[in-house]
């Protein structure tokens, strides 16, 4: 169900336009700037091109969208569905099930079947004039990675039986989590991490709409830190904006000056430094400190450092990610060294994903690293 239609149903009827503006102001920018039609979707030209065609031909295959968080998967299908049906018909033609819905085998069978089985309702004249209104329904199974294999299997038959009147759109982060019999029935669309040029255009658009003031290089830095996740990028932009907004208001001295010294005279323009601070990335000097400690081959030095980093609260996975980027690009290391390092990184990452102790695992990685260097 779309956000707008959702609230129209429940909110008291006399929602005035003032209320609407208020709601907008309370909306995080990521939602406010969720693409409303396919043209708003940045990058992902493959998916967008193919789907746009379906607006003219009314032909749509079953689809499987996959790719990392914040790349536009959910937004794209919602935008497509709105453009196909318009807001009224959308309510009866689109079923969205996501990980927050009960999706066990029996429920999937029931819900999906019941919806798929219904004959397609007829569009009104107005809708027909404005929207393509193709004669099928769309079932969106968002966040499908969290469906069990059994529940997925249960879908196979349904998909075939009702393919005359329904199209499925499966969405996931990892395509390997979708069982083959389902995946092979779908056209696959890979959603890539956004490349910086496309993302920059969108982020600049948001910044301009919100009248954000920023120094040169800030948007590029934000995109750099977000690694192609546009949702992250927009959240960073919004948070940084506020940090600067407030510094201005409270300029009469009651803001405590942080010990690092740095930015006590913040201008209202967002700076690269404040973006870095908000994003919580490990600083280059800390990364250097880690590598230097490993190079000493002195266990006590590494032990102390691991303790210090834990006290500072750094997440081990975050440090490993950044160390990976740093070490793999380091020309002074040999190929063999890099292989050993990436092996140690993977092993540690694996263990961490099993819920192990960060400090022990990171110390173990440090000791492995020092044996390679």
């Amino acid at each position: 169900m779309s956000m707008a239609s959702f609230f129209n149903q429940r909110a008291p009827k006399k929602a005035s336009s003032k209320d609407d503006g208020d709601r907008k102001a309370r909306m995080p920018w990521v939602e406010k700037y969720r693409p409303k039609n396919l043209d708003d979707v940045s990058s992902q030209s493959h998916a967008v091109t193919v789907l746009k065609k379906s607006l003219h031909t009314s032909n749509l295959p079953h689809m499987l969208f996959y790719g990392p968080p914040g790349t536009g998967k959910t937004s794209t299908i919602l935008a497509l569905a709105k453009q196909l049906y318009g807001p009224e018909l959308y309510k009866t033609r689109v079923l969205e099930l996501n990980a927050s819905d009960e999706r066990g085998i029996s429920i999937v069978r029931e819900k999906v079947k019941n919806f798929a089985r219904l004959t397609v309702s007829n569009p009104s004249k107005e809708d027909l004039a404005k929207y393509p209104c193709p004669p099928y329904k769309i079932i969106i199974l968002d966040e499908a990675d969290s469906m069990t294999n059994d529940a997925q299997s249960a879908l196979r038959r349904t998909m075939e039986t009702y393919s005359g009147v329904t199209r499925f759109c499966l969405i996931c982060n990892y395509i390997t989590r979708i069982i083959d019999p389902l995946a092979s029935r779908c056209s696959k669309f890979r959603f890539k991490p956004l490349d910086n040029t496309d993302a920059l255009t969108r982020l600049t658009y948001v910044a301009n709409e919100e009248k954000v003031q920023y120094e040169d290089g800030v948007l590029e830095k934000i995109l750099d830190i977000s690694h192609g996740d546009l949702r992250k990028a927009i959240t960073f932009l919004q948070s940084a904006t506020k940090l600067h907004g407030v510094a201005e208001v409270d300029a009469d001295g009651d803001i405590s000056i942080d010990e690092q010294g740095g930015n006590n005279h913040e201008s209202s323009k967002i700076t690269v430094t404040s973006v870095q601070e908000i994003a919580g990335i490990v600083s280059d000097s800390t990364l250097d400190e880690i590598v230097t400690a490993a190079r000493t081959h002195d266990f006590q030095v590494m032990f102390k450092l691991s303790k210090k980093l834990a006290a500072e609260g750094w997440s081990a996975t975050q440090m490993l990610d950044q160390l990976h980027d740093k070490l793999i690009l380091d020309d002074s290391l040999t190929g063999t060294q890099k292989i050993h390092i990436s092996f140690a990184l993977n092993e540690t990452d694996d263990k961490l994903s099993n819920g192990t102790d960060e400090q022990i695992q990171f110390l173990n990685f440090l000791s492995k690293l020092s044996q390679v260097l």
Binding site: M3, F6, F7, R10, A11, D22, R23, A25, R26, M27, P28, W29, V30, E31, P69, T74, N98, A99, S100, E102, E143, S146, R231, K232, Q238, S239, K242, L243, G245, V246, A247, V249, I255, S256, I257, D258, Q260, E277, G280, F299, F303, A311, E312, G313, W314, Q318, K351, L352, S353, N354, G355, T356, D357, E358, Q359, I360, Q361, L363, S367, K368
Partner: protein
């Protein structure tokens, strides 16, 4: 009479006396209607919860202090009844997944949808009309429960903001990290803790050495003794003040029983690497486990004790930490804690024997 940790927990962002830049950031985020979802992480006793409660205060004013605890019952699909507690104020609710067991996904969804579907109309200021949902120990949420938060965080974002609290972000799935602003709360430095303790001492009229240097050094010792965990530090400071008329460098800091047991066990393992000692160690481990010391804490303490033992050489240390990382993983995956702890001790003995 409340404990000092509660009595002196700062209530507002302005009165929080360290990590000023974090307070400043929280304050700026709370200053207008579009507060983001947060993931606040850092070591235990760093002051995460304190900052979050202060942020609520900033957002809603003193009304958030009208907290109550409800007991809710939930019926699982298999018709079993689960009872759990919810702390709430008119502006927020707080849940702790470990109370919910295997049903965390269903229960949290139920609660969130209930809140998400009712608009918070007419709060006195009319300013912030979303409700905050605090999830403690978010890293112990099951994967399914985390996945279930994804669309909910987007769909209901006009009515709900989540604040997830955890010790680390390694167990949080990437789509959740993508949807939250991460805020890291480091432990306070020793000096910062000395500042906090001095303030408490003044208010409680505790007799401390009049010489500033001596005073700082004893307070610093207490802070370090508690590994800079502020809660632990304040608790042990209070204990010290209760048992001594005046606090001086002569006072003996109380070591927790179990910590001492582990330290002794570690020494024994280094000294006597025999099968006989291994079976004696087993009973010590059992004893610790029966006192509800978590196996992972035992392993970590043991490892660190071994690594700091002067009789253990560097080559041994490399192998010991490797063994520890392995048994740490087995503890996470397996069920028989005692096997893995014992396995670690046996492995450590072998390592020390072969590298001596």
């Amino acid at each position: 009479m409340s404990l000092w940790v509660d009595k002196y927990r700062p209530k507002s962002l302005d009165s929080i006396d360290y990590h000023f830049n974090i307070s400043k950031r929280l304050k700026s985020l709370a200053s207008s209607g579009d507060f983001p979802h947060l993931l606040v992480y850092g070591p235990s006793g760093a002051g995460k919860k304190t900052r979050i409660l202060a942020t609520l205060q900033e957002l809603y004013g003193p009304g958030v202090n009208r907290m109550k605890i409800d007991v809710r019952t939930f019926k699982t699909p298999s018709n079993r009844k689960i009872e759990f507690n919810i702390v709430s104020s008119p502006y927020h609710i707080e849940i702790t997944p470990s109370d919910l067991g295997n049903n965390d996904r269903i229960i949290i969804q139920d609660l969130l949808k209930e809140i998400g579907q009712t608009e918070q109309i007419d709060f006195q200021t009319g300013k912030h009309r979303f409700k905050i949902v605090i999830i403690n120990e978010a890293d112990s949420l099951s994967r399914d429960a985390q996945a279930a938060l994804r669309r909910t965080m987007e769909k209901y974002s006009t009515n709900i903001r989540l604040i997830l609290i955890s010790n680390s972000t390694s167990n949080i799935i990437p789509p959740i990290k993508s949807r939250t602003l991460l805020i890291r709360v480091p432990l306070p430095t020793v000096n910062e803790i000395v500042g906090v303790l001095s303030k408490i001492a003044e208010k409680e009229d505790i007799r401390l050495p009049s010489n500033e240097d001596e005073k700082s050094s004893i307070l610093a010792k207490i802070a370090e003794h508690s590994d800079r965990n502020l809660r632990k530090t304040i608790l042990s400071f209070e204990a010290l003040a209760m048992t001594n008329d005046s606090i001086s460098s002569a006072c003996k800091l109380v070591e927790l029983d179990w910590e001492k047991v582990i330290a002794d066990l570690s020494k024994q393992v280094v000294k006597d690497r025999s099968v006989k000692n291994l079976s004696q160690s087993r009973s010590v481990l059992y004893e610790l486990l029966s006192h509800c010391i978590p196996a992972k804490i035992i392993l970590k303490e043991l490892t660190f004790n071994l690594l700091c033992d002067p009789r253990v050489t560097d080559p041994m240390k490399y192998d010991i930490v490797d063994a520890s990382s392995l048994f740490d993983e087995r503890l996470s995956l397996g069920s028989k804690d005692i096997f893995h702890l014992e396995g670690f001790l046996a492995r450590s003995m072998v390592i020390m024997e072969s590298k001596k």
